[in-house]
């Protein structure tokens, strides 16, 4: 499971930036990259992202631990595409029995996989360096997100670990009723479905109780909220977003200059 709690070294210069600024920078950076299909621009972007990691206080080892499902997925997609994609244009690079790898298929596959990694990394870094409470605060104060949504999501997020515990409890309770699947795959699937249903019923009940408790403390009652933890969006935050746009633009420009640029549209 991918962990979601922050792991940044405290005090790293960019980790301390406003969460909304970090989110905006990640968004701007990746949106610009999506414009091209070639492997060069995303490769540059990944290099930039990795170079910026220390500024966010994220250690490479920590990132690798957190991003391994992404990397495993990327490798899987690369292999699948290289072996099975219909496009077999360009000079042949390798032929062994039924396996035929051409330059065209390799370029396309690499472009896709690098793009995937380049787009996912900034998101991982943002969540790895941001406290969920700070993110909700900044979304409300700096991005004018409705408190109903931001605080509601935050409260729901706090309940996620409970679900895991609950699942184990329900599974044991099933066994205590004489229900188990043994080696029968159909029975296993049915047991899974019925456990999931019980979990859902419980989650809805718990969510309802939490909503009532929040109501009772005046949440979303129409009174204008004040903030206990002010979040500031400073010039440094603006610079972070502008820097992200600039760097992504530079990666794109390099790709155009090298002649590898293949626009998404057109």
């Amino acid at each position: 499971m991918i962990g979601l709690e922050p792991v940044a070294v405290p005090g790293a210069p960019l980790a301390r930036r406003n969460p909304v600024a970090k989110l905006a920078a990640a968004l701007v950076f990746t949106v610009i990259l999506v414009a091209t299909l070639d492997p060069v621009a995303p490769a540059i972007a990944i290099a930039v992202e990795l170079a910026a990691l220390p500024l966010f206080g994220v250690r490479y080892r920590v990132l690798a631990r957190r991003a391994w499902p992404l990397l495993a997925g990327a490798v899987g997609i690369l292999v699948t595409l290289v072996l099975f994609a219909a496009d077999r244009s360009g000079p042949v690079l390798l032929q062994a029995g039924p396996i035929l790898v051409t330059e065209g298929v390799l370029t396309t596959a690499l472009g896709l996989v690098l793009r995937m990694v380049a787009v996912a990394l900034p998101g991982i870094v943002v969540f790895a360096t941001t406290d969920p409470t700070d993110l909700a605060d900044a979304l409300i104060q700096n991005a004018k997100a409705p408190a109903r949504f931001a605080i509601g999501a935050l409260a729901a997020f706090r309940m996620v670990p409970l679900l895991e515990q609950e699942w184990r409890m329900i599974s044991m309770a099933r066994r205590a009723r004489g229900v188990d699947a043994g080696r029968n795959p159909v029975a296993k699937l049915r047991l899974f479905a019925s456990t999931a249903f019980t979990l859902l019923v419980g989650a809805i009940r718990r969510g309802t109780r939490l909503a009532v408790a929040m109501d009772a403390r005046g949440f979303d009652a129409g009174t204008p909220r004040t903030v206990a933890r002010p979040q500031r969006f400073t010039r440094a935050d603006t610079l972070l977003v502008a820097g992200a746009a600039l760097l992504a633009g530079a990666a794109l420009a390099t790709s155009i200059a090298l002649g590898t640029f293949r626009p998404l549209i057109g």
Binding site: R174, T198, R209, M214, A216, R217, T223, T226, V227
Partner: protein, 504 residues
């Protein structure tokens, strides 16, 4: 500070035929402290929800009037604070201080006043940590104190407490009661719903008893109410101080050993524990929250793989299967031998009707249909569930759900029954029925293990107790002479059976 007036008040939840509450006439003056009693289903929680303005107009049908300082409670929400049973579903934020600040932010308290008020509220409830303490790292009692601080920070004129200690162990419950007693302003009005009447009495100066059919049955100072109506209230299922249940201890010495645990543990939840479970004996497992009582119940029940040590079934319990540990048995074989009743009955419901729920176990163990029907009918009648045979288990009241979950475990006639907090949150009537039922089982030669915080239950039923200790350093000597980490075992005084007092 706030006064409450109810005139012929009634409420029917949307989609229900029965009124949850009806014909209630009540005045509570500013600064009064009221204990609200009534058997299960009398509408206590509904009344509190109405006072807290938490019953939206479109969610049901109202009769009569309810006012707080002359206002509709839905418009007087700023004057009212409410504390619920389950701390898990009251905390919103990840850090303790932020959680107290949450309500202040919602009410639009100026930013400069928020943190001083947070600190003051935390101090008043005796919160032992600083503001940054993660709410997830708190014990149940600490979480509940934090939730109380979050309510008190809003300075309510009327404080409503809906069974605030029901989920806590006796020590945690005492902390909450102390926090309420110390933190309340003298002019704050308080209405408390609480099953543990004896413990709650020092907090109140008036008792109001709701009648399940409608109206108020008794109202006045505690001594007067209990003197005049004590017996009738006890008979109706209300907990009344001084009405102790007659003890039901084993008449015969315990029989054969059914299950043996040797250095059984699951780090970090349960320290290694030794015990023997016998036929014809009721064993109560005690200890504070966090000592691993529920974990022990799951391990003994064959539902969890031991981390350390072993669980061994005797041939008496498992025949030839005695060589394999219970957690490796197939589920149908397990439920014929060991029945487990969970703390939350809803975890165990699998089917859509009460009848199917009872038939499930016997069918899984391969009983013929006629035998299944006979078993189910017998249990329905015995546990007063016959009128509910067609109902969905999820729609049952707390007492009904508890009776059903015990009945489902009994349906496969296991030789050993393990219950986790069987009496938790029950009214007196269900409580007495449970004690009777478990005593009968024990006297018929079954083994009964109950994990519990309920001292009255232990006094009424247990033949032997095992106390788990939270700190593994607090080792005590168990009666067999060996030092057993964090475990104290005791036989009931006066019991002199050859096997009393644990592992010989």
């Amino acid at each position: 500070m706030s006064a409450v007036v109810l005139r012929g008040f009634g409420w029917r939840h949307g989609g229900r035929r029965r009124w949850a509450l009806r014909g209630v006439d009540l005045r509570v003056e500013s600064g009064e402290r009221v204990l609200l009693l009534g058997p299960s289903g009398a509408g206590k929680s509904t009344l509190l929800a109405a006072l807290a303005g938490l019953l939206p107009e479109d969610s049901g049908e109202q009769e009569g009037a309810v006012e707080i300082d002359g206002l509709d409670p839905r418009k007087a929400r700023e004057r009212v604070g409410i504390l619920f049973q389950d701390p898990q579903t009251q905390l919103v934020m990840a850090r303790s201080g932020d959680d107290v600040a949450f309500g202040l932010e919602n009410r639009g308290v100026p930013a400069g006043e928020i943190w001083p008020r947070v600190d003051e509220a935390l101090r008043r409830v005796g919160f032992p940590y600083d503001r940054d303490r993660p709410t997830a790292a708190l014990s149940g009692g600490e979480q509940q104190r934090l939730a109380l601080a979050g309510t008190l920070a809003l300075r309510p004129g009327l404080l409503l407490l809906d069974e605030p200690t029901a989920n806590l162990d006796p020590a945690g419950a005492a902390l909450i009661r102390r926090a309420v007693a110390n933190a309340l302003d003298p002019d704050t009005t308080m209405i408390l719903v609480e099953h543990r009447v004896t413990e709650a009495l020092p907090l109140v100066d008036r008792v109001v008893v709701l009648e399940p059919g409608g109206g108020v049955r008794a109202d006045g100072p505690p001594e007067t109410v209990f003197a005049a109506h004590g017996d009738a209230l006890a008979a109706a299922g209300v907990w009344v101080p001084g009405h102790v249940a007659p003890p039901r201890h084993a008449a015969a010495p315990p029989g054969d050993v059914l299950l043996t645990a040797g250095r059984l543990g699951l780090p970090p939840r349960l320290a290694p524990t030794d015990l023997r479970v016998r036929a014809g004996e009721a064993l109560a497992v005690l200890g504070p929250n966090g000592a691993g009582k529920s974990t022990l119940a799951l391990l003994l029940g064959g539902l969890l793989k031991p981390g350390t040590g072993t669980v061994t079934a005797s041939a008496e319990l498992a025949g030839r299967d005695a060589r394999t540990p219970p957690h490796r048995w197939r589920a149908p074989a397990l439920v014929r031998r060991i029945g487990s009743v969970f703390q939350d009955p809803e975890h165990q419901f699998v089917t859509a009707t009460v009848r199917d729920e009872l038939a499930l176990g016997p069918r899984r163990t391969g009983q013929p249909d006629t035998a299944v029907t006979a078993t189910v009918d017998g249990l329905l009648e015995r546990l007063r569930l016959d009128k509910l045979a067609g109902a969905n288990p999820y729609t049952l009241s707390g007492g009904e759900a508890r009776r059903l979950s015990v009945a489902t475990a009994l349906a496969t006639a296991p030789r050993l029954l393990i219950c986790d907090e069987p009496t938790y949150g029950q009214d007196r009537r269900t409580w007495l029925e449970l004690v009777d039922l478990l005593a009968e089982l024990r006297d018929a030669g079954h083994g009964v293990v109950a994990v519990t915080h309920d001292e009255d239950f232990v006094a009424a039923l247990a033949d032997r107790t095992l106390t788990l200790d939270r700190s593994p350093s607090g080792a005590e000597r168990s009666p067999d002479g060996r030092s057993s980490t964090g475990v104290a075992e005791a036989a009931r005084a006066g019991d002199d059976g050859p096997a009393a007092g644990g592992v010989p």
